[in-house]
């Protein structure tokens, strides 16, 4: 038997509260967000590399004030999707819009209201913390930048490191500094690629709480990738599981856990990784 999924068979009855089950084994959920409220819209995104499909008709939306978890195993296509949103990568086909603009054609306009932080992108290690933030404040045209820098450093509890060389910071401190940089321009949309990857549990918790607080206060839409499923359960309003570039499940963490008949997202993650090909109809049962 081949399990067939049809991502776009959702009906108008779909609502935010009632995730729609789409396939026989209840693996696929859809919880559409009205597109007119969405800051980010990705429609049928495909990205092909020689011999590989990094994204295969991936569609999702991110609304203002929402935290969307983009989840999946390594190589699932999470970073590819983020790079397309950032205008760093051209999709092979499909459409993407951020604030109603194409990131490929309007990178500069979009970047004023969007920011990004990743465990794999660093600020220059040979500059002081304050110097790095000063330079990016000027690049983003931040008003009252001194005050802004001090507030952010206080918020992430690294105010005492202001005059320290960035290269001398621990990886946890660097992560918090990256988040300070990502919040300098008061972004409306924030893309966070494994932001707590190098933090100890206590610091990760503090950072999550701080992020959540800022997100609520400023109504920021956050696209969040992480391999830490308890973290995702705690912070994300909605999650999107992808496997080999395709959506496998989408909904609130609770709804997804319920439909996968598991108690944790981690179990869902494992189930998806182990039977992803099956769900996508790539393997016969």
């Amino acid at each position: 038997m081949i399990i067939r999924t049809d991502r776009y068979s959702a009906t108008k009855k779909d609502s935010m509260d009632a995730p729609k089950l789409l396939c026989e084994n209840h693996f696929m959920l859809i919880q559409p967000v009205p597109q007119d409220h969405a800051s980010v819209i990705a429609k049928n995104l495909c990205k092909n590399y020689p011999g590989t499909k990094a994204l295969d008709h991936l569609s999702f939306t991110l609304s203002q004030g929402e935290i969307l978890g983009l989840l999946g195993p390594n190589g699932a296509g999470k970073t590819t999707a983020i790079h397309i949103l950032l205008g760093l990568l051209t999709p092979t086909s499909g459409e993407v819009s951020v604030f109603g603009l194409s990131p490929l054609k309007n990178r500069q306009k979009i970047s004023q209201r969007l920011n990004f932080s990743s465990a794999y992108v660093q600020l220059p290690s040979n500059l002081k913390v304050s110097e790095n933030l000063l330079i990016f404040s000027k690049i983003y045209g931040v008003k009252k930048f001194k005050q802004k820098i001090d507030t952010l450093l206080e918020l992430f509890d690294i105010a005492d490191l202001k005059n320290r060389i960035t290269g001398a910071l621990s990886s946890g401190e660097k992560t918090r500094l990256n988040l300070c940089k990502a919040l300098l321009n008061d972004p409306v949309v924030l893309l966070l690629d494994e932001p707590t990857a190098s933090l100890d549990p206590e610091m990760a918790d503090t950072v999550r709480k701080t992020l959540k607080k800022i997100q609520k206060e400023k109504n920021i839409g956050i696209l969040y990738t992480s391999h830490n499923m308890p973290e995702v359960e705690e912070i994300c309003d909605r999650v999107l599981f992808i496997h080999e570039g395709r959506t496998i499940a989408e909904g609130t963490p609770e709804a997804i856990m319920k439909n996968f008949e598991t108690n944790t997202l981690e179990q869902v993650f494992i189930k998806i990784v182990r039977s992803g090909d099956l769900i996508l109809g790539k393997k016969n049962v």
Binding site: K47, H83, S111, V121, L123, L127, E131, I135, I139
Partner: protein
């Protein structure tokens, strides 16, 4: 425009902060040109002594050529190294997703390169004046301005070209940043006149703006006058190379964006 100016200033500030922090980096800017000057300076002294003064103009040309070569090399490096520095420090994605425009980035690197070049030229001119009694300003006088202008332009065009290769191929293309200037060195008639080259090589040499600078420099030293055609041909070629380098950069940028290399710069 004021926003562009602000961002360019921010980037120059970023490059200057590096010097404040790193003495070896600042020292390195001065060290190599000064060492080179010592070598060519003493070669010139030797030529002058064995020729009994009859080859003094040739000796003078050698010191001048060395200083000019350094201006060309440093202006190319100014653009390329500033660019690759952000790849080394894994900061490039932060810049690529910021409001900084590509031309603003190149402009800031070029201006920073120009600041370094001015400093080095000043140091080299001072050393040659006191050590070899060579007066750069006195010898070339007003011709110095158009000659240096054309050198800077060509250096920037080369810098944009080599940066394009790095953006497309990443670390694998880094060696070209240092190698490309040396590809044009033998063809630019730097230490010898164009007539020394075989005719078929002269054709290639005449397609390089740097050749007209070095030929012009020798003309001033020999006759006290630089044919204006040298300046205008050099300038025309520079404009062509500048536009071609810019187009090549945008093409490579597009290629890197399509292949996924752009987002992975600094991570391989």
């Amino acid at each position: 425009m004021s926003e562009s100016f602000r961002r360019i200033r921010a980037m120059i500030l970023r490059y200057l902060f590096l010097h404040k922090r790193s003495l070896p980096r600042t020292f390195e800017i001065i060290f190599w040109p000064v060492m080179e000057l010592f070598v060519w300076g003493f070669v010139s002294v030797y030529i002058q002594s064995v020729s009994g003064g009859t080859l003094s103009k040739i000796a003078m040309s050698l010191i001048n050529a060395m200083i000019f070569w350094d201006i060309l090399y440093r202006s190319q490096q100014g653009v390329s190294i500033s660019f690759i520095e952000d790849i080394w420090t894994q900061n490039i994605v932060n810049l690529l997703i910021s409001p900084l425009k590509i031309w603003e980035w190149i402009a800031s690197a070029a201006l920073y390169g120009m600041m370094k070049t001015c400093l080095i030229t000043l140091i080299l001119a001072t050393i040659s004046f006191f050590l070899y009694h060579f007066n750069l300003v006195g010898n070339l006088q007003l011709a110095l301005i158009p000659l240096i202008f054309n050198l800077l332009l060509f250096g920037w065009a080369l810098g944009i070209f080599t940066s394009s290769l790095v953006i497309r191929w990443g670390h694998a293309a880094e060696a070209l940043i240092w190698g490309v200037p040396f590809l044009i060195q033998p063809l630019s008639a730097i230490f010898y006149p164009l007539s020394v080259l075989p005719p078929w090589l002269q054709v290639i040499s005449k397609a390089l703006p740097s050749t007209y600078v070095f030929e012009g420099m020798r003309a001033v030293i020999q006759t006290g006058h630089m044919p204006t055609s040298y300046f205008f041909i050099g300038l025309g070629l520079n404009l062509i190379y500048f536009v071609l380098a810019g187009l090549f950069f945008y093409w490579m940028y597009g290629q890197a964006r399509s292949s996924g290399r752009l987002g992975r710069l600094g991570m391989d």
